[in-house]
């Protein structure tokens, strides 16, 4: 165990090309998926939070339920969609990085939506009313409300990133864990461990833990800032 851990640090700090490529693929697909998911998810979260319509509670229930959807199930659904005979088979995204990006986008969407919805709902309704009373258009009201709820929205984005970088099911099913192409941190850990190559698994685990610590640190800072702003208000 100690030998494997020491070897893991050595792999990380000696710049093992395979290892860092896996990390690069993971970061690239996760950030791309997140960037694709963020605009529609934040917009939908805002619209659901701000509007009263028939079936709203069902939509919120579904969005929150989607948070606990196993990523392997999302992976299975996307596999069926992207497989050669599936409705999106022509895209030829299965076992490719665009496929993983698509998967990460789907995985991140409910997290971003539910957290944005909660952040906007928690915001004082007078922000929107004041903007309206001062003559803001619908788009301007949205921008103002999202700005005032920016800590919550950023927390949503960070939580979304945490979810996509650490998920294994969807990346494995849609990406196929192909070396040098679609191997991500989590799929590589699963593979290396099954092969008894613990050092590489531990090294990638260290990267994941570091990312998790950074994400949570950023979240705590944001929550601290939001709390301080409320206290001052």
């Amino acid at each position: 165990m100690i030998d494997a851990t020491l070897h893991a640090f050595a792999l990380l700090f000696t710049g093992n090309a395979d290892l860092w490529h896996v990390i690069w693929v993971s970061l690239k697909t996760s950030v791309s998926g997140l960037l694709l998911a963020a605009p529609p998810a934040v917009l939908l979260g805002y619209l659901i939070a701000m509007n009263r319509f028939r079936g709203r509670r069902i939509v919120i229930w579904l969005a929150q339920a989607a948070l606990s959807l196993p990523t392997v199930l999302i992976g299975l659904l996307l596999y069926l969609l992207l497989s050669r005979r599936g409705p999106l088979g022509e895209l030829q995204w299965l076992f490719s990085q665009p496929g993983i990006v698509f998967g990460q986008c789907v995985v991140a969407l409910p997290v971003l939506l539910a957290f944005t919805l909660a952040a906007v709902q928690a915001l004082d309704p007078r922000y929107a009313e004041t903007a309206v009373a001062l003559g803001a258009s619908r788009r301007q009201v949205m921008l103002r409300v999202l700005y005032e709820g920016r800590f919550g929205v950023m927390a949503a984005v960070l939580s979304g990133f945490g979810r996509v970088i650490s998920e294994v099911g969807c990346a494995l099913m849609v990406g196929g864990n192909i070396e040098g192409q679609t191997r991500t941190i989590t799929t590589a850990i699963a593979l290396e461990t099954s092969k008894g190559e613990f050092a590489q698994g531990i090294a990638l685990g260290i990267v994941l833990v570091t990312l998790a610590l950074l994400m949570n640190g950023a979240l705590m800072l944001l929550q601290g800032d939001a709390h301080a702003a409320r206290e001052r208000g």
Binding site: D124, L134, A229, R232
Partner: protein, 243 residues
């Protein structure tokens, strides 16, 4: 002969009365007929008629829960209600929902506890002007004038979250004033203030009318109710009484 004189006097009286009504109608900034608001099954108010004169100042009183704030919010387009007819600045407003742009730009509602955006005092005051895409220099000049008017010039770059209740209220008044609204709806502007902060806000209100706005103030504050030149309205049992 006497019949002819009598007829011409009646015609003159009739014409005078008509002229008076026409003048009154011309002076009326806002005229609402048949305004009803329900909260669920409960009828909150059923107001036959509201007339707000151009450059008029009004206080709206009534017990807590009478619907004062709701009435101002309805007039300010923040809440919906049933309205039979609405006339604004001598023109009939045919559709009240969604709230017409023309009214939105002319009527400004200020909350009882105004909320300031988490930017700066100056940005808050200039926010409505930015929405109207005015030139930057004009916005800066207008904001500077408004800050001096409200006595908050020393707070220009401050984070609004650090302001006192009175300062927030004055910034909110300045933020509304820069838009030169035809009608300003103030919801209990002194309710959470005392001492000098309250007096400073009360002193600003007549100057809003002098600047050209009609003002309707929902309040319980005796000093506001007794301001010179202010007409009184009272919401009682769902009806509006003019005093």
């Amino acid at each position: 002969m006497s019949i002819s004189i009598h007829t011409s006097i009646s015609a003159a009286v009739y014409e005078n009365e008509n002229q008076r009504l026409r003048d009154e109608r011309r002076k009326a900034l806002l005229g609402v007929r048949g305004l009803r608001k329900h909260h669920g099954d409960r009828l909150l108010f059923d107001i036959e008629r509201i007339e707000i004169a151009t450059h008029g100042a009004y206080v709206l009183t009534g017990v807590n829960g009478a619907g004062k704030s709701t009435l101002l919010r309805v007039l300010g387009g923040l809440e919906r209600a049933e309205i039979d007819s609405l006339r604004f600045a001598c023109e009939d407003v045919l559709r009240v929902h969604p709230y017409p742009r023309r009214l939105r730009e002319a009527i400004v509602y200020v909350h009882q506890h105004p909320i300031l955006f988490s930017t700066s005092v100056a940005h808050n005051i200039g926010y409505g002007l930015q929405l109207r895409r005015l030139p930057k220099e004009e916005i800066a000049r207008t904001v500077a004038d408004a800050m001096a008017w409200a006595g908050v010039a020393h707070l220009e770059g401050h984070n609004p979250a650090t302001l006192s209740g009175g300062e927030k209220q004055r910034v909110a008044l300045a933020r509304a004033k820069v838009l030169q609204p035809k009608l300003l709806l103030l919801d209990e502007p002194t309710s959470n203030l005392d001492g000098a902060a309250r007096e400073q806000v009360i002193e600003l209100i007549p100057t809003l009318v002098e600047a050209g706005s009609s003002v309707v103030i929902a309040c319980h504050d005796r000093d506001l109710i007794n301001l010179a030149g202010v007409q009184r309205m009272k919401l009682r049992d769902g009806h509006l009484e003019l005093r």
